[in-house]
């Protein structure tokens, strides 16, 4: 393969959308590759759907149970610090006004209180998970 041939091949590549070219001639193999950068076209994941865990299993459950939702955007924590015990567990009996968790926003710890008396039957988010306004956090079976 002559230099001239190579030049021609490169020109061919330049003016087209071809990104890779492999040519074999008289026992000589030439492979020319051209990187074309395009931002990756990922299929977007609609994250907000993933945020919402299934709150109540059944219709009756949904009617009966009280949902505690986050009033702010932030990060959900089960306890007041990494070393402390969680405020509540599954089955904990809680009273109205009792602190159930922390939602941290901009380095400020916001205590989230229960607005009903009852028993915690479901904890819907994980420790350290980001939560949005209105995100369901706990399901409480009212006393």
């Amino acid at each position: 393969m002559e230099l001239e041939d190579l030049r021609e091949l490169i020109e061919l590549l330049k003016d087209s959308d071809i990104t890779e070219l492999q040519v074999e001639k008289d026992g000589t193999k030439v492979k020319i590759k051209r990187e074309k950068f395009l931002p990756s076209l990922e299929v977007p994941v609609h994250k907000s759907a993933a945020f919402h865990e299934k709150a109540a299993e059944t219709e009756e459950e949904a009617q009966r149970l009280a949902t505690i939702t986050s009033p702010i955007v932030g990060t959900f924590y089960r306890a007041s610090s990494p070393e402390a015990n969680p405020f509540v567990e599954l089955g904990s009996k809680v009273g109205r006004g009792q602190v159930l968790c922390i939602v941290e926003a901009m380095k400020l710890m916001n205590e989230i209180e229960s607005d009903v008396d009852g028993i915690i039957v479901k904890i819907l988010v994980e420790n350290g998970q980001p939560v949005e306004y209105g995100e369901p956090l706990f399901l409480i079976d009212p006393a």
Partner: protein
């Protein structure tokens, strides 16, 4: 200089969609924030991620700085684009972003603060040799001084709120005997509306045209203008139709003069990123500085059409530290573009008309662009402003643009609520509009009514 990895859009509706489009084309990830009632919005759907930040009420959602900053934090966004309206001209928000290590895509907090102080901005422009409307030199603190200044300029005069702008917080005073009452009322209204009762005075200019200049500046202060726009078709100081170039800047000389004045005004306050300098042009063709808008504007598409420059992408690139990619002599606007703002309002009395869109068909074809966040079945909520779509056409000259706008308006079908499409059709068939012979009194004149300005 690297572009941002992820941008949070602190807005909704058509401008949020616009910003998401620019981000996607630049390979930047997007985060939408939304009030709970906006869950089914297009901007939420198009973004890579979304965060619900509050209930419908704007104070608790789109104006909720802690919620928005928190959303940026939990999504690891490295920049926030504020769009227009909402927090885009709130310098506290811009500062808060910077403090949190998140880039505010727009000018500096100081630019914003100054832009929001109309009295101060006027004083600076005057000092730097940008022509301003005759008026008070600084704020007017009481009725006596107001009277003195007014008599010096000559009635009629306009009382304007320092913290106002965009036509809000203004009162025309025709005679000496009215000034005391008007002054008191304007102060009261300004305090209620803007939390600031400071007033300044300008000469009242009848038959004026509103011509503005699009400005772009990089972090080193290289500043260029991207042509001008005429926004004189206004109702109660709300723009309804805009075009580029302004019909009055038919001469290359005028275009250059007003463009250079725009750059001068921007440099006077060391303006950065994208903004617009507003001028009024009086019946003699004299140009006067009015205010500077420190954000992207609703009508930016007409400038994009005639220059071929994507202004939102420019904002993002400049905010990430990239230098201006072109010099003034490389900007050669050509052709003519017109934009009609389609509002969900009654086309005659402009009463808001929220509701469900039962049938939607968008215009198309060569030279037609629609910026919108509506879709078939979308419910236009009553909580936010009534702009539901922008129809922009581009032609090789103004005549072609007008023909395109007419046929596009005919193609635009929105059933289920009232829209201002019939109003726009009326304007596009009006002889004065077609002749380019109009000023800010146009709508009043067209309706033949004595609508209170």
């Amino acid at each position: 200089m690297k572009l941002f990895k992820k941008i949070l859009i602190a807005n909704r509706g058509e401008i949020a969609v616009r910003i998401i489009r620019a981000c996607k084309e630049l390979g930047i990830k997007t985060v939408a924030v939304y009030a709970d009632i906006d869950k089914e919005s297009l901007h939420v759907r198009f973004a890579d991620e979304s965060v619900c930040i509050g209930p419908a009420n704007v104070t608790q959602s789109y104006l909720n700085i802690p919620a928005i900053l928190s959303a940026a934090e939990i999504t690891d966004s490295d920049a926030i684009h504020p769009g227009y309206g909402f927090l885009s001209e709130n310098h506290h928000f811009a500062e808060a972003c910077n403090t949190s290590g998140i880039t505010f895509i727009g000018p500096t907090p100081e630019n914003i603060r100054l832009g929001g102080d109309k009295t101060k901005a006027r004083q600076i422009m005057k000092r730097k040799g940008v022509p301003v409307v005759a008026g008070s030199d600084g704020p007017v603190v009481n009725e006596e001084i107001a009277l003195k200044v007014a008599k010096k300029i000559g009635f009629p005069i306009v009382l304007k709120a320092s913290a106002g702008g965009g036509g809000h917080g203004m009162k025309i005073v025709k005679e000496e005997k009215d000034i005391e009452q008007a002054f008191y009322m304007t102060q009261r209204e300004a305090l209620t509306a803007f939390g600031n009762s400071e007033i300044y005075i300008e000469e009242y200019i009848p038959d004026l045209r509103h011509v503005e200049v699009q400005i772009v500046a990089d972090s080193k202060g290289n500043t260029v203008y991207l042509g001008d726009r005429d926004c004189s078709i206004q109702r109660r100081h709300q723009k309804l139709i805009e075009e580029s170039p302004a019909p009055i800047s038919a001469s290359e000389k005028f275009r250059k003069r007003i463009g250079e004045l725009g750059v001068k005004a921007a440099r006077a306050i060391k303006y950065r990123n994208v903004g617009t300098v507003e001028f009024i042009v009086d019946a003699n063709g004299d140009i006067h500085f009015i205010e500077i808008n420190t954000r992207i504007q609703v009508e930016h598409p007409v400038t994009e059409a005639v220059t071929g420059i994507d202004i939102v992408k420019e904002q993002i690139k400049l905010a990430s530290g990239l230098p201006l990619a072109y010099k003034q002599n490389q900007i050669k606007p050509s052709g003519h573009a017109i934009e009609c703002r389609i509002n969900a309002e009654d086309p005659e009395r402009f009463i808001p008309s929220p509701g469900k869109i039962t049938f939607l068909s968008l215009p198309g074809g060569p030279g037609v662009r629609v910026d919108t966040a509506i879709y078939n079945g979308y419910v236009v909520p009553p909580h936010y402003d009534s702009l539901i779509a922008k129809l922009i056409v581009y032609g090789k000259d103004r005549t072609e643009a007008i023909m395109k706008m007419r046929r596009s308006l005919d193609e635009f079908i929105i059933d289920g609520l009232n829209t201002t499409i019939p109003f726009h059709k009326k304007v596009l068939n009006n002889p004065d509009f077609i002749n380019g012979d109009f000023n800010t009194n146009f709508i009043e004149k067209m309706n033949g009514s004595r609508e209170n300005v």
